[in-house]
């Protein structure tokens, strides 16, 4: 049985799109500003993790699609390298959210870390597959770890901001 009580009504119809687009562009600007291809925060992951806990799966899928497409268009990789993992993960988290009894802060951090791992690994695989770039395992592992750390810290910092913004 799939019995879920969604609380979509609390989230404003424009706020969720606005926040995703805003944070996606912030991520793009950070990438251009610092010019470092690997060590940069992906602010779309925290907002998607947060929204997947309060939105229906079919809504979160399209939000992930918007965020992922923006990241893909403004990045150097193929379109889909961000979008597809983000869509899948946010749908999974949104679907299993009622299994999770307590939504404490470390749950969000762990979920962000898991998402960050998957997105980073997908990016590495796609890069190596399409661009014939074979990443050195140690460096790839280091990049992934740093991305996990950065994204988790941002999740931790932004959690209260999201709660205040969406009036949860």
């Amino acid at each position: 049985m799939y019995k879920v009580k969604y609380i979509t009504a609390r989230v404003g119809s424009y706020k969720k799109y606005l926040s995703i687009i805003f944070l996606a562009f912030i991520t793009v600007i950070i990438k251009y500003f610092f010019g470092i291809p690997t060590y940069r925060p992906n602010l779309v992951i925290p907002i998607l993790i947060y929204l997947s806990m309060i939105l229906k799966p079919k809504e979160i899928v399209w939000l992930a699609f918007i965020g992922g497409i923006i990241l893909d268009v403004f990045s150097d990789t193929y379109i889909g390298s961000y979008t597809i993992p983000l869509i899948l993960i946010s749908w999974i988290f949104s679907s299993i959210r009622d299994i999770i009894y307590r939504r404490v802060w470390y749950f969000y951090v762990i979920a962000t870390a898991v998402t960050s791992i998957i997105v980073s690994v997908c990016n590495k695989i796609i890069s190596s597959f399409f661009f014939q770039v074979k990443p050195v395992a140690a460096f790839a592992f280091q990049d992934i770890l740093i991305n996990i750390l950065i994204d988790s810290i941002f999740m931790l910092m932004l959690l209260q901001v999201f709660k205040a913004f969406f009036k949860e």
Partner: protein, 253 residues
């Protein structure tokens, strides 16, 4: 069989993404190029912000550099003054018939705005003893009256306890130089017949054996003849400014 909630949306979104990806990969829709109008302003803004930041850094560097230059100029000025003083001191040391120990003035003792004592950084461990004569590059300073192992105290000209036998070579007169309570240096026992003028040089006479002969003491700044007194009142302006002197040489016998 009931599909999970949002499964159709998921499949649709993934398929759309794959379609866009394929179309873009084969240069059919050129999605990335079509968003260049968004990319370029972002990149230009980022470059502009970076340039502002770099220019701020450069301004800060320039300010720090300017600060260093000013500090160096001040240091150079101080070194010039010290160098001049040491050269003077070296010059006077060549004329004196004694061995000199040069020391740095580390403190001054004031009384009513006048310097009474100088404290120097050399003491008995450097061979300095009580009663020795101290000179600067500009002339006589005073006499050592207290010595510790690493420092000494000098009673300077202007200290009422300090007296020295002097001569006025121009007129061939001798006298005793001492300070009054106001700190004025007066020469006692100068004959009223002597033709003493303002600006005449005053030297040590060498009488008494403490001070070598011929050390410049100062210039006559005032001459007064009082009818009831048998001697002239000659006031002397010391050649050494005790407030500014930085190095002192002590004549070791």
């Amino acid at each position: 069989m009931r599909l999970p909630s949002g499964f159709i949306s998921l499949i649709t979104a993934v398929l759309i993404t794959l379609a866009i990806s394929v179309l873009d990969a084969f240069d059919i829709i050129r999605l990335k190029e079509s968003f260049m109008w968004v990319k370029k302003p972002i990149q230009k803004t980022v470059i502009f912000v970076k340039q502002i930041r770099e220019s701020k850094d450069e301004t800060l560097d320039a300010a720090i550099f300017q600060h260093h230059i000013i500090a160096n100029q001040k240091t150079t000025e101080i070194l010039e003054v010290e160098n001049r003083e040491l050269k003077q001191l070296l010059g006077i040391s060549l004329t004196l018939p004694c061995e000199l120990k040069t020391a740095v003035v580390i403190d001054r003792v004031f009384f009513e705005g006048r310097v009474m004592e100088l404290i120097i950084d050399k003491g008995s461990s450097s061979g300095i003893d009580k009663g020795l004569c101290a000179v600067s590059g500009y002339g006589l300073v005073g006499v050592v009256y207290d010595v510790s192992s690493t420092s000494s105290r000098i009673a300077v000209l202007g200290n009422p306890a300090f007296k020295v036998s002097v001569i006025l070579p121009k007129v061939g007169e001798a006298g005793i130089l001492e300070a009054d309570r106001e700190g004025n240096l007066n020469i006692k026992f100068v004959s009223t017949y002597a033709d003493v003028n303002i600006g005449d040089l005053v030297y040590t006479s060498g009488e008494g054996g403490i001070f070598p002969r011929g050390i410049l003491v100062g210039r006559i700044s005032d001459v007064e003849q009082v009818s009831t007194e048998p001697f002239l009142r000659c006031t002397v302006l010391p050649s050494t400014d005790m407030k500014k002197v930085g190095f002192v040489s002590v004549c070791i016998r």
